[in-house]
Symmetry: C2
Subunit: 457 residues, 2 copies
């Protein structure tokens, strides 16, 4: 067989032990929080029928789907005409499945297929990879995890409150302190279009103000002009672009501006209700920043929308989500409303790495290494190991007799904090020499004394 120099596909990543340990620290914070709040796990297959995926993410999304070739003689059902017609037409004949692009569409598909077994309200979380044939660039990958939680079958704003609480809890666990949960409501945005006299241009407004961070106020104004917003409308929008202050001040201003826009007032009252629920829970305005210019791209949102930004690290949103009123209509099951949100693990990882927030215990693999100097002392070393394991201490033995330096290097590279030296002396005295790898300190103690120290770690 010929030798190959193997490589990774573009935009794909390996996660070695160090990165895995850190990522698992994040996943674990998210998973335990979802479960603490009563969300139950769901997993759907990596592949879906293309009929399920296509048309759900716009034309660009369809382009970015990874398509899986039919197995066997995939050309059997094709004709010269199909080939001549080109990639798009031939596709339908040679590929029936694609890799999932997000977790929402498969979730909707699952809900429709299992509508008769599910108990509503249904709270599910899903932590799985998704795939997009996007051009890879810094921070953008072709395979990445999404961590979604949705509750469907209820319009209660308690769900919004719970999402804020979950975001606070996850970031508390991770040690991320300086962040804003930006909150808005699509109804407020609809109210703004009413107030400025462009009530039929909600999605155009959202698309433009979604770019506010990137292109600035003037950029948004220019773009709206080119989208044929009347200049009176653009003038009327300016006060909204300039709303400032704390949440109370902002709410006061926007209430005046939206005094005649019914849906706008409804959106404001929903936001106030969420704040009210949070107050009942003992939390007020905690990390919450009302942002009437938050739009979020996805057009299926119809109520509350939210997005979390780090104030320390300039990076995209760490979490985001919103309320929708029709999750499954496209699959023939209308009227399923709910709210969902998602954590972006790659960005959270980058923020934590930049700020040095990963705690030591997140990168520790094994707690203790038992040394192995010669065949003669192996039986005693194995006895020590068996007692550590019985005490549920993560521990390993160096698998073959080797020089001390080599074994110390092994422990060091693997971030093992304690080494138990067991040579002839130790075997005779039935003791162990416990070495703390950080301080370098060594003490000769009994196995039980060693276990007592290690168990605390």
């Amino acid at each position: 067989m010929s030798m190959q120099k193997p490589g990774l596909p573009k935009g794909m990543r390996d996660f070695g032990p160090d990165k895995m340990a850190k990522r698992n620290f994040i996943f674990s914070a998210i998973r335990t929080t979802f479960e603490k709040f009563g969300y139950q796990p769901l997993e759907t297959p990596s592949m879906e029928n293309l009929s399920v995926l296509t048309g759900k993410y716009g034309d660009e999304g369809d382009q970015l789907l990874f398509k899986v070739l039919n197995s066997g003689d995939y050309l059997a059902k094709t004709s010269q005409d199909d080939y001549d017609a080109g990639s798009k037409q031939l596709l339908h004949k040679i590929s029936e499945k694609g890799l999932k692009y997000d977790l929402t569409v498969p979730f909707a598909r699952y809900v429709v297929m299992n509508r008769h077994e599910l108990t509503f309200p249904f709270k599910r979380y899903q932590i799985q990879p998704v795939w997009r044939a996007d051009r890879p660039q810094k921070g953008r990958y072709r395979e990445f995890y999404q961590c979604d939680a949705d509750v469907i079958g209820t319009n209660s704003l308690i769900c919004e409150m719970e999402i804020v609480l979950m975001i606070n809890e996850v970031f508390d666990k991770l040690g991320i302190e300086n962040y804003d949960i930006k909150v808005n409501n699509r109804k407020i945005l609809a109210g703004i279009t009413e107030a400025i006299g462009e009530a039929d241009k909600l999605s155009e407004l959202c698309t433009s103000i979604d770019k506010l961070d990137k292109i600035g106020k003037q950029g948004v104004i220019d773009e709206l002009g080119s989208r044929s917003f009347a200049s009176a409308a653009i003038n009327a929008l300016e006060p909204f672009l300039n709303i400032e202050g704390d949440n109370d001040q902002k709410l006061k201003t926007i209430k005046t501006l939206l005094a005649d826009a019914a849906s706008g007032l409804e959106g404001i009252s929903e936001f106030e209700e969420i704040l009210n629920y949070l107050a009942q829970f003992g939390i007020k305005n905690h990390h919450i920043a009302f942002d009437p210019m938050l739009a979020r791209g996805l057009s299926y949102y119809t109520g509350t929308i939210l997005e979390v930004k780090s104030n320390d690290v300039k990076i995209g949103s760490l979490s985001g989500g919103g309320r929708y009123d029709d999750l499954t209509g496209v699959f023939g099951m209308p009227g399923i409303s709910g709210i969902g949100f998602s954590f972006g693990v790659d960005r959270i990882y980058d923020v934590m790495d930049t700020l040095g927030l990963f705690p030591e215990e997140a990168i520790i693999s094994t707690t203790a290494l038992v040394t192995n100097f010669e065949r003669k002392t192996e039986p005693y070393a194995l006895k020590v190991l068996s007692e550590l394991r019985n005490a549920q201490i993560k521990s390993e033995i160096y698998p073959e007799p080797a020089k001390l330096k080599k074994q110390m290097n092994y422990a060091d590279k693997k971030n093992i904090p304690y080494v138990l030296l067991v040579g002839e002396d130790e075997m005779e005295s039935q003791l162990v020499t416990l070495k703390n790898m950080q301080t370098g300190q060594q003490t000769k103690i009994t196995i039980s004394e060693g276990i007592e120290i290690l168990a605390k770690h």
Copy 2:
């Protein structure tokens, strides 16, 4: 948009909350055991370059790879000749990537690419899905998880001992009691071919005796005849097929039979060394069944091989693995030896389900539901909920005011063991009525008393 009745691709599965809870119980037992023994996590991408995957699993394996279509205008680089030449030739022009078929080849690729950063011996575990375009049938899926652990860069038989210990520990945690760890050694099988005078036919022998369970002794004998084994050789094989008794008796018999076969004796001595290590660890012959007719299909094994079978449920092996002496040669890095093994989660699930081994706590999601009867009592219900959550109790509130029956049904369907009824009475007295959903018992107590009961759960 047209309505669609959505479905799942053939051989693919959704895992809803109940199944996920049970599967996570199994994954958690496996993961914590791997980590307790010093194995570190690794994840590789779902897709690999086809150049990495092709030719590693035989012709049949190549057929079973799921191939991913190049993105964009995938036909751009093809010609009429490619199309005329058929599926196989066109493939190279339209697909460069495939979904991974197992975890071993990606692991080997990872080791080669990271050889300079890794510290050997390197112990990694990997729990990820793999994909095979196999014909789906009962118990065989096109997407399924593998749970592999390998240690490479050492020939120490302590690794074999550790695998036996890990299997025991995982099955202990899962409550699976009646199983055999069948152990053999490829060197013993090589010794048998020497002893019967067919030293050059090891792989043919392995292929045939691999089917022993299915086709029986006579079937194996017939097949070896058709594979041009001499009839003297087949006669000489019979005593090996008939070896019986406990491990000591079997070892005694085979030692006599292999007295003149050097590699056979080496294999036996390795097996005895493993038993010896286990004895030093305080375990002897625990679930171990020496089986000189165990072959295991994969041809890259060169030493110990093992396989775990349930004695209660007739099903394929629950775990298996073996030692190899060249993991990465095909990628230009020869001489990397090691040993690996794997748990089969789907089969373990089936065994546990059949025997009713999933403990109640494995299927409980939320510990407590706080009821919601009217807007008026919501503030008190939220106060109760916030105290439960502060005490780290998995809890949720019914998100909107609803009738008692509906909320009880919700708790019931979701396997929630406790409901806290908080109505007007409770709000006034600042108490809660705690209902045990299993016994139906209700008691009116303080929130702290409730927390004390729930915390024990």
